[in-house]
Symmetry: C2
Subunit: 393 residues, 2 copies
C-alpha cells in the first residue's frame, strides 16, 4: 500500500489476490461465451452456474433467484424500475427512506416523473428507520418498499427483518427490496432471514471486482427487464455474462463470509479506537450514525466549522485516503443528504469525514489518523473564514 | 488452445494477453474508485480518462461523447430507450431493420408496448439494407433510425454512411444509431465518417474483457439515462466505473486497430479458403450474406436437410467450436430471424453454420474444418429422418 493509509473501504475495496487468482482462467484460456454450446461455452456456463450456486447458498436463496448485473446501481435500478413496471396496474405508490443511496433516490425521482408516488420515511438522529413508520406509510396502492440494509455514509444498520415483517402484516402483497450493497460480505446477510423479496449487492464492496453485482429476486416475483436482448439470465437481464467478474464475485463473497466474524471483531475494535480517539481530541466534533447499530468498519464524523473537502485534501497530503460521504457524489459541495436527514445543520453537515476500515488497516494506522486529524481540523479552523466567523480562530 | 479449433470469434474473443497486462494494475494496487478525490481515486480517474481519450481518438469523436457501459446490450438499450425517452414529445416512430441483433429488436418490441411505432426495413437476399428504403421509411414523426453496422450472423456490412446521409436529407433532425458491436476493432470505424449520432460497441468482441462496452453519443444529443444514481458519466450512466474493464477495452481497441489491416487481409484469405472449400465439397449448400461486402472473419453457411444444432454437436465432438447463428440465442430451435429475413425457407434456415475466424486460426485449421464439415453433413443427412424425407439418404 505504498505508505498510504487507505480508509475508504466503503467507496471500494482492493481485489483480494485469491479472488484475482480464481478469475485468472476466465481472463485467459477459459474465455468462452456461456451462451455457446461448444466446449468453451460449456466451460464458461459451468463457471457461471457454480458461481450462482455459491452466492445463492451463502445468501440463503435458490440459484435461479439471482440475477447477475453490472453492479449495485444496476441492481437497484432493476429492482425499482422492474417492479414498478410489472406492478403499475396494481398501484403506483412506493415507500422508501430519506437516507437511501442515490441509486435508489434518483431512480425513485425518475419513477415519480413517470407517475409514481413516493413516500420517503424520515430517520431518527442516529439514522435509524422506524419499522412502524414504514408500515404506517404503506397504503392500499403501495407496491414496493425499499429500505437500505446499512447506510453507505454513516454505517447505521436498519432492522430490515422487522420492517419486512410489519410491512407484510399491513399489506401481504407489498414487495420489499433492500439495497444491501454495504452489508453483503460484511454482515451475515440471508434473504430468508431478512424476509425480503429483492436484494441488491455489488462485488467491489467486498474485495471483488468492479463492474459486477447481483439482484436477488424471490421466485415468482414479476419484474420488467430493463436490458432486453439475447435473453440471458432467464430473460431478466440480457447481455453476455461477465464470466470473470461473476466468478470473482462468488469467490469474494465466499472468502469475506468465511473471514467475516474474525475480521469484524478486529475492525470494530479499530473503529472504536478511531472514534474514541478523534472525538476525545477534537472539540466540537460528533459521530454521525448509531453508536453500536453500525457497520464494524464505519466511522463518520462531523467537525463544526470545517469544510469537508478541504479536510480531505489535507488528509490526502498526509497520505490518508478518506471520504466526506459517498464517493459517488464527491466533488459536489452540497452537504450530504444523509447528514441533513439526521437533522444536522448545514454547518455540521459540510464538515463531515467518513473513515471506513478494511483489511490493510491496523492499530498503528488508526493511531496515526487519530494524531493527524485533530491537527488538520485545528489548522483549518484557524485558517478558514467560516471558522473565523463561527468563532473558532 | 488445447487442440481445439475455435471458430466462434463473433460470439466472443479471448482476452489479448497484452490487454490483460494493461488491466493488471487495476486488478491489484490501483484499485481506487474514480469518484474518490484521494490518491487512489485520482489514479483510477486518470486511467478512465486516458482510456476515454484513447477510444475517442480512434473512433474520431471527443472524449466527452463516450459513455462507458456494461457491454453492447446495455449500449443498444441506452441508445434506443434513451433517445425514445428524450424525444417522445417530438414523435414516436423509429426505423430499423429486420436483421438487427436482439438487443435492438427486443428493445424496439418493449418500446412498442410503450406506444412507439416501429418500421422494420427488409433486406435483400444478401442481407443488405437499401439506404433509399430506409430514407423512404422516415416520416414526419420519426425520431430515430437504428441500423447495425455489420450483422453478427451473416457478416454483411451495411452502407451506414449512405444511410445516415439519405436519412438526414429526408429529415434533418432524425438521429441515427448504429450497433457497431461486430465492426469496432474489426473495421476502421469512425463516427465522423459514418455520420451517426449514436454508436454501440462491446470490448469482448475485439479481444477485450467481457462486461464492458461503450456508447458514442454526439455532443448535444439528449438522452434519458437508464441507470440513475451517483451521476457518473456526466449523469448519463450511473454506477462505479469498471476501471480495469475500461482500461482493457481501450487497449484492446488500440491493438486491434493497429493490427487490423494486416489481420483482415490474413482473415479474408482464410475465410475465402473456408467458403470455397465448403461450398465446393458440400452439395446443397449455400453461403449466407453478401459475398464481398462482409466481415473478413465471417462465413455463414446453410446445408439443406441438416439440423444446425446437431451439426454443432458433431463439430464439437471433433474439436471444432462453431455456432449456428448468434451465441445469444443458441439453445433455441427456432430458425434464425436473420436467415428468414434473407428469404431462406425454414428448411434452409435451420441448417445454418456460422464460422467466425480470429487470431488463433490458420490454413491448417481451415483445411481441417473443410475436411470435417462435409463428412459430418453427409452423415447427418444419411441419419436424420428429415433428410430422408427430403430425399438426401
Amino acid at each position: 500500500m505504498n505508505g498510504l493509509i487507505y480508509m475508504d473501504y466503503a467507496a471500494t475495496t482492493p481485489l483480494d489476490p485469491r479472488v484475482k487468482e480464481a478469475m485468472e482462467p476466465f481472463l485467459s484460456d477459459a474465455f468462452g461465451n456461456p451462451n455457446s454450446i461448444h466446449f468453451y461455452g460449456r466451460q464458461a456456463r459451468k463457471a457461471v452456474d457454480e458461481s450462482r450456486e455459491m452466492i445463492a447458498h451463502i445468501l440463503g436463496c435458490r440459484p435461479g433467484e439471482m440475477i447477475f448485473t453490472s453492479g449495485g446501481t444496476e441492481s437497484d435500478n432493476l429492482a425499482l424500475r422492474g417492479v414498478a413496471g410489472a406492478r403499475k396496474h396494481r398501484g403506483r405508490h412506493i415507500v422508501s427512506s430519506t437516507i437511501e443511496h442515490h441509486a435508489v433516490l434518483h431512480t425513485l425521482e425518475a419513477l415519480r416523473e413517470e407517475g409514481f408516488e413516493v413516500t420517503l420515511v424520515p430517520v431518527d438522529e442516529d439514522g435509524l428507520v422506524d419499522p412502524e413508520q414504514v408500515a404506517d406509510a404503506v397504503r392500499e396502492d403501495t407496491i414496493l418498499v425499499s429500505i437500505m440494509h446499512a447506510n453507505n455514509e454513516i454505517g447505521t444498520i436498519q432492522p430490515i427483518a422487522e420492517i419486512a415483517k410489519l410491512v407484510k402484516e399491513k399489506k401481504t402483497d407489498v414487495l420489499v427490496h433492500t439495497d444491501a450493497v454495504q452489508t453483503v460480505g460484511h454482515l451475515p446477510v440471508r434473504v430468508d432471514q431478512l424476509n425480503v423479496d429483492l436484494l441488491s449487492l455489488s462485488a467491489h464492496k467486498f474485495y471483488g471486482p468492479k463492474g459486477v453485482g447481483a439482484l436477488y429476486v424471490r421466485q415468482g416475483t414479476r419484474l420488467v427487464p430493463q436490458l432486453t436482448g439475447g435473453g440471458q439470465e432467464k430473460n431478466r437481464r440480457s447481455g453476455t455474462e461477465n464470466v470473470a467478474g461473476i466468478v470473482g464475485m462468488a469467490h469474494a463473497l465466499r472468502l469475506s463470509t468465511q473471514e467475516m466474524e474474525q475480521e469484524n471483531r478486529r475492525l470494530a475494535a479499530l473503529r472504536d479506537r478511531l472514534i474514541d480517539g478523534i472525538l476525545g481530541q477534537v472539540p466540537d466534533s460528533r459521530l454521525n450514525g448509531h453508536r453500536t447499530q453500525r457497520l464494524a468498519h464505519n466511522a463518520n464524523f462531523s467537525f463544526l466549522g470545517v469544510e469537508g473537502e478541504a479536510l480531505l485534501l489535507q488528509l490526502d497530503l498526509h497520505g490518508i485516503c478518506a471520504s466526506s460521504g459517498s464517493a459517488c457524489t464527491s466533488g459536489s459541495l452540497d452537504p450530504s443528504h444523509v447528514l441533513l436527514a439526521l437533522g444536522l445543520s448545514r454547518e455540521w453537515a459540510i464538515g463531515s469525514l467518513r473513515l471506513t476500515l478494511g483489511r490493510s488497516n491496523d492499530d498503528q494506522q488508526v493511531d496515526q489518523v487519530v494524531k493527524i486529524v485533530p491537527q488538520i481540523v485545528q489548522r483549518l479552523r484557524e485558517l478558514t473564514p467560516e471558522a473565523v466567523r463561527l468563532g473558532f480562530s
